[in-house]
Amino acid sequence: MSTAVLHPNVDLELKKAFEDLQVKMLTNRNQMKVIGAQVDQLKRQIQHAKLTESELNQLEKSVPMYEGIGRMFVLSDKDKVMKNLDTKAKNYETKIQSLEKSKEYLEKSLKDSEQSLRELISVKQGKK
């Protein structure tokens, strides 16, 4: 935060703009942190699905498998289990993509606000 640009006797308009930006930065940064954590979590889940796939791949097709749903286990077979794991991983991917998009949006809007503040400052300084 570049507090240096602020003189002790800044005009109120600038001060207000500056404060707004600070609030925005704070909320945006928090939101981005949340998104980052979500993305990490999803990436881990993809990793997990891939690991499971490779483990299960070592088994014969005839081995009975049960899929966990809540607390119960439902009889399935290797092909179905593998297919489900694949769709799961793909779902996670799309979720990550949409999260990345919203992150980009947040970054951009923050930059825009910074830019407009900078412009405001230069206009004010130009006046002096």
Binding site: T3, K15, F18, E19, Q22, L26, N30, Y66, E67, I69, G70, R71, M72, F73, V74, L75
Partner: protein
């Protein structure tokens, strides 16, 4: 950050070290309580998310499908699903409702949203309190340093 609540800054400056410490402790306590309830809400929400997801998965399971039924936390027996696209939902205060899977899903989604709203209400308060505590601590260190210097100066003068 200190630029924000100017009046408060002035107000804080008037307080003694002891009072500041007291305020800090109180804020810490409040923050802890809020954080704990956030945590609890998140846990409950997560368990509803699992219920919701389980229903999604259940939609793909045909009736009479073979399964392992959990009788207790550690005991499973072979059985068949006869849910008939219906489930039993515990709606609280001793009432249970048997309804179609899709309706049950709606129920859990509503719960998830309600909890999200609750958390959204707490979050800004938590943030505000954290900022306030930071301010109080800042003023505290300033005052403390000043007092030390005054003491030193007094000792030097003697």
């Amino acid at each position: 950050m200190s630029a924000e609540p100017q009046q408060e800054g002035i107000y804080l400056n008037k307080l003694s070290l002891q009072q500041l410490e007291q305020i800090k402790n109180q804020l810490t306590q409040e923050i802890n309580v809020l954080q704990e309830s956030m945590h609890r809400l998140k846990m409950v929400q997560q368990s509803f998310v699992t219920s919701d997801q389980s229903l999604d998965q259940m939609k793909n399971v045909e009736d009479n499908k073979q399964l392992l039924v959990p009788l207790t936390g550690s005991l499973y027996v072979p059985g068949k699903l006869i849910s008939n696209n219906k489930v039993l939902v515990d709606i609280g205060t001793g009432y249970y409702v048997q309804k179609p899977v899709d309706d049950a899903k709606k129920y859990f989604e509503k719960k998830i949203q309600y909890l999200a709203k609750q958390m959204d209400q707490i979050q800004p308060i938590l943030q505000q309190k954290a900022i306030m505590r930071e301010e109080v601590m800042e003023v505290f260190t300033q005052k403390y340093q000043m007092q030390l210097q005054v003491q030193k100066a007094a000792a030097g003068a003697q």
